[in-house]
């Protein structure tokens, strides 16, 4: 079973990386938003391969809506959302590539150099995971959970206030 897991880890990992790369390589806005969606779905599939079922399905669901909303915002604000003009919308390319490569190499080096200890073999099944995560939310991480609620409220108020403010002052 281990080898199947490794094969699918590599397949979905390569898919995530390839679609993530396509995001910045296409000039069609909706295509880049949906490439990001495909990359995120591949990440969700990686979660499923690592048998975190709830998180995987949740990731696949959340990103479906989030990236589609990203696509509509791209449509609203871009000069050329279809990418027919092949405009280049990047700057400081060399510095960015250097930064990306250096950080990647550093992280991989850190991952290889660290002694990770023993790998766990026993882990709870899907239903047990849901139950234990619920217990975690209600018992030990209850304050984190309520804080997340307040954070969501703050984000909601901030986004609505910022996005709709001018509209209101014009209506007065």
């Amino acid at each position: 079973m281990i080898s199947i897991q490794l094969i699918f880890l590599i397949i979905f990992g390569l898919a995530a990386i390839w679609f993530g790369w396509r995001v910045f390589m296409t000039s069609s806005m909706v295509r880049s938003a949906l490439s990001l969606l495909a990359s995120m779905v591949a990440i969700g599939a990686l979660f499923l391969v690592m048998e975190a079922e709830f998180l995987g399905v949740l990731q696949i669901m959340m990103m479906g809506t989030e990236m589609s909303i990203m696509a509509i915002f791209m449509m609203m604000y871009m000069m050329d959302p279809g990418g027919l003009g092949n405009m280049d919308m990047s700057h400081q390319k060399n510095i960015s590539i250097a930064a990306g490569v250096i950080v990647t190499v550093l992280i991989i080096g850190a991952a290889l150099a660290t002694d990770w200890g023993t790998i766990a073999t026993q882990f709870p099944g899907p239903h047990e995971q849901n139950r234990l995560l619920g217990m975690e939310i209600l018992k030990r991480s209850m304050m984190i959970f309520e804080t997340a609620g307040v954070t969501i409220l703050t984000g909601m108020i901030a986004s609505i206030a910022v996005a709709l403010s001018i509209k209101k002052s014009m209506e007065k």
């Binding site: 709830f54 959970f145 609620g149 969501i152 909601m156």
Partner: protein, 120 residues
């Protein structure tokens, strides 16, 4: 069936669907080609022949809802695990989630008062 086999089966079904669709396309291709006629490839626009592409800037008038939805959507990530253990924990769970949902409901009420719940 172990969980990983279930996911394999789901993935295999997706691949099988793609294969089925591909076969359908192959059969269709063997039946005949499309005739080349002028104006045939122009999309429906109530009789107007519009040669320009349609991919232009488009004002999506429900973006206020979209912003609210992005934030509100996250609440269900916490709600599913909570629902599974609800009866086990009892009153504490009800109060806990009651506070959480009240906080989020405040956000909805705020948007309502800011006239966010209408076509912009």
């Amino acid at each position: 069936m172990t969980p990983i086999l279930q996911y394999l089966l789901l993935f295999g079904m997706l691949i099988a669907t793609a294969g089925f669709v591909w076969m359908l396309y192959l059969i269709k291709q063997s039946l005949g080609k499309t005739l080349e006629e002028p104006g045939k490839d122009i999309p429906a626009e109530s009789g107007n022949l519009v040669p320009k592409p349609a991919w232009l800037r488009y004002h999506v008038r429900y973006y206020g809802y979209a912003l609210l939805f992005l934030a509100f959507d996250m609440e269900m990530a916490y709600m599913y695990p909570w629902a599974v253990v609800y009866q086990e924990v009892g009153l504490l769970a009800l109060l806990d989630m009651g506070v959480f949902l009240m906080i989020l409901f405040l956000g909805l009420v705020y948007t309502w008062t800011q006239l966010g719940l209408k076509r912009q």
